[in-house]
């Protein structure tokens, strides 16, 4: 078994809501292996995005973090801001959901791509700009030279997301965190951007942590999948296992919401909604929406061991 690049142990994230600490992420653990794409899936409000942000400790000070995130032998969560600045954008990079608002409107594309190179690699601005041109080629933006001098509002959404990717890749990071990178894009552009990310991962040998709510995306790019529900990690599995043998009732329900070519069955939306974090149920957090819930579910189950891990009493009984 390969040694993981990053290990997340018992990560919890809490926010203060009306004088009460509410756990938005409830003690989750997972590994990020070298050169893999790990997809974190779940409905919105499940804590995927804040989990992603916490991987480089980008959350605002109002968030209380617990647990341990080990990267290169060091705990990210106990690092000082100065040390974090050295890692962010250089060894771990992140791209965001909204390409429209994630680029600074008053700075040129060239400057925004060159910035991490100047910050981390000690390059001069002119060298960094030359490298930025190569990065635009890498993310397959035509007329790179001309684009460098343009501002974000002069680019289309797909282009901007490519620029974001170029920024993320600038310093050849070991991990690229992509938070719903294609959600805001047109379907055709989505496919292109996903293909691009996958190609780059193979070429450069980096690991991608992809946050998404779209199982189509998961099927396309994932090596392994982690399913989150209401701040809990409910199931992790290699992508093939997850689609063929989903074990958690939530994963099963989630899969039923996606149209599939090979099976003709009706699409079933999941009844109910993810509870808001100040109103999390005791015990298994999915129980109120679970068709298989029973008495045992009043106590929260543990995640089972092994590569295909599930957090459900029903699964325990089955095994």
């Amino acid at each position: 078994m390969t040694t993981p690049l990053m290990t997340v142990e018992d990560l919890s994230i809490s926010f203060k809501i009306e004088d009460r600490w509410c756990r938005a992420v409830n003690g989750i653990s997972f590994d990020i292996l070298p050169n893999e794409t790990l997809c974190i899936v779940g409905e919105s409000g499940c804590g995927k995005s804040i989990t992603a942000m916490s991987l480089m400790k980008l959350l605002p000070d109002t968030a209380q973090l617990g647990g341990k995130i080990t990267f290169d032998g060091q705990d990210i969560l106990s690092m000082k801001e100065k040390e974090l600045e050295g890692i962010r954008g250089s060894r771990i990079a992140m791209i965001f959901q909204e390409p429209m608002t994630s680029l600074n409107p008053v700075l040129t594309v060239g400057e925004q791509i060159a910035e991490p190179l100047v910050l981390h690699k000690g390059m001069t601005w002119s060298d960094a700009r030359r490298e930025a041109r190569n990065l635009l080629d890498l993310v397959r933006i035509p007329d790179a030279e001309q684009r460098l001098g343009q501002y974000p509002h002069e680019l289309s959404g797909g282009m901007r997301q490519r620029v974001m990717i170029a920024i993320g890749l600038a310093c050849r990071p070991e991990i690229l965190i992509a938070d719903e990178p294609t959600t805001a894009l047109d379907v055709t552009i989505q496919a292109q951007v996903l293909a691009l990310l996958d190609d780059i991962r193979k070429e450069q040998g980096l690991s991608i942590v992809m946050i998404t709510h779209d199982l189509g995306v998961v099927a396309n790019v994932a090596d392994r999948v982690a399913v989150m529900y209401a701040g809990d990690l409910v199931e992790t599995a290699p992508v093939a296992d997850l689609f063929t043998a989903p074990s958690h009732p939530y994963t099963q329900a989630l899969l039923k919401t996606v149209p599939r070519a090979d099976e003709a069955f009706e699409l079933l939306p999941i009844e109910g909604q993810v509870p808001p974090i100040q109103l999390m149920p005791e015990g298994c957090r999915f129980a109120p929406r679970c068709l298989e819930a029973h008495d045992a579910c009043e106590v929260a189950p543990e995640l089972s061991p092994g590569p295909h891990a599930v957090r459900c009493w029903a699964r325990e009984e089955r095994v």
């Binding site: 480089m56 980008l58 801001e81 100065k82 974090l84 600045e85 050295g86 890692i87 962010r88 954008g89 250089s90 990079a93 992140m94 965001f96 909204e98 608002t101 994630s102 680029l103 600074n104 409107p105 008053v106 700075l107 910035e115 991490p116 910050l119 981390h120 501002y151 509002h153 974001m164 920024i167």
Partner: protein, 312 residues
Amino acid sequence: MIGFITKRLLSTIPTLFGVLVIVFVMIRVAPGDPALAILGDNASQEALDAFRDRMGLNDSMLVQFGRFLSDLAQGSLGTSMVSGKPVVTSVMEVLPYTLELALGAIFFGIIIGLPLGIISALWRNGWLDYFLRVVSLLGLSFPAFLTAILLILWLSIEWRIFPVISSPTGGPIDRIYNLILPALSLGVIMVAYIMRTARSAMLDVLGEDYIRTARAKGAPGRRLILHHALRNALIPIVTVVGLYFGLLIGNAVLTEIIFNRPGLGKLIVLSLNQRDYTTLQGLMVISAFLIVIVNLLTDICYALVDPRVKLK
């Protein structure tokens, strides 16, 4: 650029024309006879008639307005009823003093208000922020004459750093030295406005996605604030400076009176006291035009600060 400026200036012509009509009509329908007011109650009938004739006051209003416009087209605002001096000349003589005062005030507003506003935003809801917010509210409540009086008392009389009377003569150093106190006094309100705007603009900007992107890049705090955030926060600050320029010119009148400085303010008061209606009329027209120019400059500044704004 030149096309934009021409277009903008042309588009303000209807407004400026309306301004001219208002000013013109108001002066003509005003109670009181300017001839009598200027020459005094003891003036002979002949002197009064001669004066009215010379000033064209006997013609119909329409004729007078036509003459006013044709003069204006030639760049003239008539001659003073009292001194006989061309109005444009006397206004242009003092306008630079008022402008340097206003610019000085904006300068102080920016160098003091901007950092304080940023500090306030960064320490949001902390005691320092709370304190600075009260200070800014106090600053914009200060009547222009009170700031001037207090500054004179402290800096001129108590500490003897600056002269009580600001006479903008002599070399550039002297001129700037004489400008500091009045500009600071006029600038207090600008400090307050810029502080408040900078605070709220920074708060808005710091919550933006691109700031998160910059953090994710590993940009250190100082660069985050001064480079990524501030550039964007400047946009509303430019608006505020442009917006309050009119207020500044108005307040400058008071500052000039107190510091006994030449400028529009003293000229206004002088023409008021002398019932010099032509000068007053010219002052109104020029000050309205000044605001038009400032609005234009504000738009140009926008385009400089914000690449999304195109001058069309």
